[in-house]
């Protein structure tokens, strides 16, 4: 049923994985620490830290057997639906509740957008691709959704504080559901990246 190396096919990742779930968790934690170290005082907004984080995650995913495959329209369509679900709340708030926006300058948008997309895709490939597959193989799909949701939320805590935890748990569950319903990581990766990019206009 599965073919190795397809972005849209989670189980194929499992077939070639070389890392266990425990090792992946440790590596994700180490990558997060590395991002914090490189980011320094800039924290979450450090493009250098974020880019390195994305590269490390993708390298680990590649080491674990993941290979990019051909994008499927159905995965992208699921991803669009997922992105709409993630941005509908902030869009409503944006229209209904006037507030001072902090993000004002358009300078550097291109670099920012590339880095944000890379981080989103890398997180999805490793968490809802490789880690999801590894956990699912050992403990089933429910455990895979739960574990990846919790890890996704925890990865964001050092960067955005514990206040982000409830929101990221909900977002992680949304992306996990998208992963299961669509059958691959294309959908959550698309949704994650689009929702992050939308933040430029919404925050």
């Amino acid at each position: 049923m599965s073919q190795p190396g397809r972005l849209a096919r989670g189980p194929s990742v499992v077939a070639r994985r070389r890392a266990g779930a425990g090792e992946l968790l440790v590596v994700v934690g180490a990558a997060t620490v590395l991002r914090l170290v490189v980011a320094g005082a800039a924290g979450a907004s450090s493009e250098r830290g974020a880019a390195l984080f994305a590269v490390v995650l993708l390298a680990v995913a590649a080491r674990a057997g993941w290979r990019p495959g051909r994008l499927r329209p159905a995965g992208l369509a699921w991803g669009l639906v997922g992105a709409v679900g993630l941005v509908v709340g902030p869009v409503v708030l944006h229209l209904a509740v006037p507030r001072q926006q902090l993000h004002v300058s358009g300078h550097g948008f291109v670099v920012w957008a590339v880095v944000v997309t890379a981080v989103a895709v890398a997180e999805e490939v490793l968490l809802r691709g490789v880690l999801f597959g590894a956990v699912e193989e050992g403990a089933g799909v429910t455990a895979a959704v739960l574990v990846t949701t919790v890890v996704f939320a925890l990865v964001h805590v050092p960067l955005y504080g514990v206040g982000a935890l409830p929101l990221d748990l909900a977002v992680g569950l949304w992306l996990g559901g998208l992963r299961v319903a669509s059958g691959g990581v294309t959908a959550p990766a698309t949704a994650h990246a689009l929702a992050d990019l939308a933040g430029w206009w919404l925050w």
Binding site: A74, V92, L93, V116, G177, V180, A195
Partner: protein, 238 residues
Amino acid sequence: MAVVTSSRRRFGLAAMAVAAMLLAIFWATRGWEAGPPIYDGLPLQTEPYRYLQPAPGQATTAPPTSGSENVKPSNQGLPFIANTNESPPQAELQADPNAIAIPPSVPNLTITVTPVPPVAPIPNGKLDGNVYRMAITAPGGAPIGVRPGGHVTVFLRGTGASGKTVIDRFSAGRWSALPTVMPGAGFHSADSDQLADFALVLLPDSSGLSGGVRAAIAVAVVLAVIGLLLVAVRLLRR
């Protein structure tokens, strides 16, 4: 797209439904505090402190903001809250409506938090950030004070400078220190029985030792104790 069985799709959609419910609750209750959906790569960290009067050599930032809230005297029993608009705010005032001496005829109040230059030099240390004037006024601009026995709570964010800090209040023509706590997230807070000018003050280091030196001394003491313990074990074994 890989083959997805109907049971898996149902399971995935159910997870998405639960997540959507949680997100809706979160956005409805937290509003903009929830931020954008996932946060990655956005400047949501504590923004650099905005100085009203940057010292020479200090990085230029946007000017600090003021905060203002119009409230009904009862405020439905909720605390009066006004804060500045930085992320996170640099100053915030909170008050129990019952702690404020509101004249009966006043239909609404304006709570303001405004950065101002210090009206007098601060005697007990170095200003850590801006001085903030906190006030509650009636519609005509008449100041409203704190009821006898009541208090308001002042929150000031520090600049991140290392050292012991305290909130000072300027009243009766002089600065005086208030009992100050650090509730977290870089905030300092103090209760005050007056509305006035408030400043976060970096106290001089009384020991004269840097944090690193003090840490080294503490570790050296522990090492010495461990050394003595090892010697004692060795002697007892003879």
